[in-house]
Structure formats: C-alpha cells, structure tokens
Symmetry: C2
Subunit: 282 residues, 2 copies
C-alpha cells in the first residue's frame, strides 16, 4: 500500500498571511471513505519546496478547528513552514459510530483498530503513515525529508505515538496538553478496549510512555500544558511522560502554563513557540 497516492479535489482556498489555506477532499483507500484535510502553504512555497509539520487535532474536532482557531498561519508564514491538518477519524453515514464524543467518529485515536466493527475503517495510523504522507509528498511543494508533527490532547497523543513508533519519519515533535498515557486514563482505556480488545499488551504500541521506555526518546520533545485544564489530573497526566523520559539522551521540555485551560485560547497563546521549535529542527 505504501506510496500509493490519492487523487485530491480542492474544495476551498483562501489567501492567508501571504500564503494559501487550502482544503482538499479525497477518497481514502485505507479508511474506505471520503476524507477531508487542510494544508497551509506559506508564501515561501511559491519559490521553493518548504519544510512541513502535521497537526493532529483532539476529540470532537475535524480539520477545521485548528485552521480557524489556532492562529498558526502567521507563524508558519514567518518561518516558512507548511502545515497539514487531517481529520480525526473516518467519516460518513456508512462508518460505524456510537453516541459518544470520545469514541467513534471524531475520536479515532490515531491507531489501527483490530476489533469488530471498528477494524473495517478505523485505521487512522495507517491512513496518515501510508496514504496521507505519500499523497502530500507527491502533490504539495514540500521537502519530504523535512517533516515534523504536533497535536492537541488526543492529537498530542497521536503526534507522540506516531513519531515515537516511526522516529525516522519525523525530525521534530511537540504537543499541547497530550493524553500522555492512554493506558492509564479513562478516555484511553475506553477507546483502546473498543478498538484494540481487552489484552493490554496490544495497547503498548499506542502509549507514549511505553514507547519511550521500549525505544527511547530520539529527539527533544516540547510539551505545553495549562494548569487550569479540567482534564489535567484524570486524563492527561504529564507527570507520567516526565517519569518515562528520565535518563533519556534528549529532554522532554514540559512548560506548565499558569491559569491556562484546554481550549484553543491556550493553543493560540503558545502556537508560535511550537512552530519556532519545529522550524529549528526542520
């Protein structure tokens, strides 16, 4: 499947900070449904291929939350970075779903489900690694070897786990308020049991802390977390990521941000620092 690419239909395009904010649709062969994603191209991309970063969004989001709310385009234009924002799950009336905001559509957890009925479509890890990345490489004015990844909450978990499991694919990694150890929080336990089954040995490949313990931390990781985030203690648990990173050759840089919550007001306040972090390594 690797290196197949999808035909893209451009559904929207708007000038933004001298570059272009573009939205594409395509028929995903990995997910077996129509998917939408967004790309920001900075002004520098009109002259030469640019470095690029994938943004993975959190529970309930699609590709538009980040595009409209994070205020990232200004900094991406300053640094000459493209940003690719996929959706958070397979989509559509034919895709299995349940009446919950933390499972099913909008809550794909960036893994490959093995359990029925989820396994037919919920293959978000394969979608990003084997379909979206080759498609972006072939169709966008980016430098394929200069790739970073970041995300928020469930998408912070996605960015950390996809990068830790595929360290050669990503040169820079950061996260806002990530779910640091889904094996040890209610959101993760619920989703992993449904998507991956009851055997928690199958969960470890999608748990950042387990991946660091197993394979090490091959680059510095920047994490920002608000102290007034209502999910901090029960769901996010950055202290587990700090523990897992102890003794690693590269640091985990955890910024606890006094008084900030889990919203895009928090993300937009610090997105500039994350984009500078990626630009430094790309």
């Amino acid at each position: 499947m690797l290196n197949e690419i999808s035909a893209l239909t451009e559904v929207d395009r708007a000038r933004s900070f001298g570059g272009w904010q573009i939205r594409y649709e395509h028929q995903s062969f990995v997910l077996d449904c129509k998917m939408t994603f967004s790309v920001y191209l900075p002004p520098q991309a009109e002259e030469a291929n640019v470095s690029h970063v994938y943004w993975l969004s959190g529970l309930t989001c699609d590709d538009q939350n980040f595009v409209t709310k994070a205020g990232a385009q200004r900094y991406a234009a300053e640094q000459g970075l493209a940003i690719i924002a996929p959706d958070t799950s397979p989509r559509g009336n034919l895709i299995h779903d349940v009446d919950a905001w933390d499972l099913g559509q909008g809550a794909g957890f960036y893994l490959n489900a093995t359990q029925n009925p989820w396994s037919k479509n919920y293959q978000m890890a394969n979608y990003i690694l084997t379909e979206l990345i080759p498609t972006i490489n072939k169709t966008q004015p980016i430098r394929p070897e200069q790739r970073g990844i970041f995300g928020h909450s469930m998408g912070g978990h996605g960015a950390l786990t996809l990068a830790l499991a595929n360290p050669d694919l990503f040169k820079s990694v950061s996260a806002f308020s990530p779910i640091c150890s889904p094996m040890h929080c209610p959101w993760g336990e619920k989703a992993f049991e449904q998507y991956l089954g009851q055997d928690s040995n199958a969960w470890k490949q999608y748990d950042s802390c387990e991946l660091i313990k197993e394979h090490g931390l091959p680059w510095p990781v920047l994490v920002d977390q608000g102290t007034d985030d209502s999910f901090l203690e029960e769901q996010l648990k950055p202290e587990l990521l700090v523990d897992a990173s102890k003794g690693q050759p590269y640091p985990l840089i955890l910024n606890m941000r006094e008084g900030y919550d889990h919203s895009y007001h928090f993300i937009s306040s610090f997105i500039g620092e994350h984009i500078k972090h990626h630009a430094q390594y790309l």
Copy 2:
C-alpha cells in the same frame, strides 16, 4: 436611558496571551432580550486601566466569530488594548425573525429600526451607544475616554456609521471589507426598507458616505479590502467611500489586498495592522 448599566453574568473565562478572554450575558433593557458579548483584557489591564476598541461583526455572526477566528488577542496583548465584541442583533425565540441570513437575527445593521415589527427590539445603535458603552465603562478596567471602533462587512458599516454620527465618542476607526454605502447595494436596500421604511431620507443617517458628505471625516480611517472578495462589486463598493472622502482634512487609507477574500483568513492576516492603527490614536 444614558448611563444606566446592566448587571453582567460571566459565562466563560479563558487565559489568552497572558490576559483574559471573557464572555458575559446580560438582560438588555434597550433590546428587551438576553444578550451575550465578549471582552478581551490584555495583561496590562491587571496593573492599570487600558485603552479599548469595539469590534462589530458581520452578517450571520455572533460575538464568538471574532473571538475564535481573528487572532486579535496576540496583538491586543502586545499593544495593551482591550477589545469588546458585541452580538450583531437582538436574540431569542421571542424576537422577530425571518428566514434570511441578511435580515433579522444575525443582521441588525447597527441601526434603530422604526418599522413594525422590527422597531420593538432592533435597536442596535441605541444598545451599543446607551447601554453597552456605559456598562463597559462602569465594569471593565478600561479608560472610558480612550475608545476606538472597528468591524467587518456589516460590522464595518456599523463601525463607520456609529463613529461618524458620534465622533466625540471614538478616537480611532477602521474597517475590513465594509458595506460602504448601504443605500446603494442590495443588502442595505433590503435591510433599510424593512427596518427604516421606504423613505430613503431616513436612511442617510446610517450611510457612511452620506455621513461624511454631511459632517466631514473627523479622523483618519483605515480600510482593508480583499480584491478577490465575492461581495466587492455588488455589495461593498469602497470606491464610493473614496469618492465621499475626497477633500477631507483627514485621509481614508484604503488598502486593496491582492487575492484575499471576505473570510476571517483575510481579517486575521491584517488584524495586527488595524490594532496598531488604533493603538497609535488611543
């Protein structure tokens, strides 16, 4: 009615760029319904009262579009400006409405309606001038004499007309893609006929071009307009504003922005320049 103030209920508060993004509800005595508005307070407001700017949104918006999409907080924090974002019309099941996005709820046009059934609640000019401004003056850490106003599309029209009709209340004025002469475009003609009746003499007090011809331009005005805005030729007509401003002691500064459209991607790209414009005069 002047100088009465409303009791406010805080419904949301989030840290943003070192300041606070806050949302309030109140029972409006001018509009006779419950209204919501938002306030951004920059970090400087914790030390001293700050200058402030009102943002008026366009058709279909409420107070949240600007707050979540414009990316203004970063610049407001840099310049030490508070921003107040009201809703665009009276709201609720008891408020008259029609099945249209350019009339009724979400489309108040910042005027005082004189025609039934609109006149009972559609008093947005009075709401802002005689209720919201006194309420903000009494409850927020702002300098009451240091007030600016700006807006987008219908809200650009609102900012220009409220300021031109009340030049002593506002020290700085700017607009994105304003409806420059509602008397001479389909959106304005439809709304003014409904809200103000068929006699177009009653329309002139809400038309920027007429107000400039009648009273002059008492400060410089900054306007940004995208060249690829699909409403440019039929609805917005900045050339009428340029004509009306000829020979005035202060300039109309019109920036035509190549390739930009009518969206918040356009606004966010240039909001920093507008906030600097206001900070320069406040």
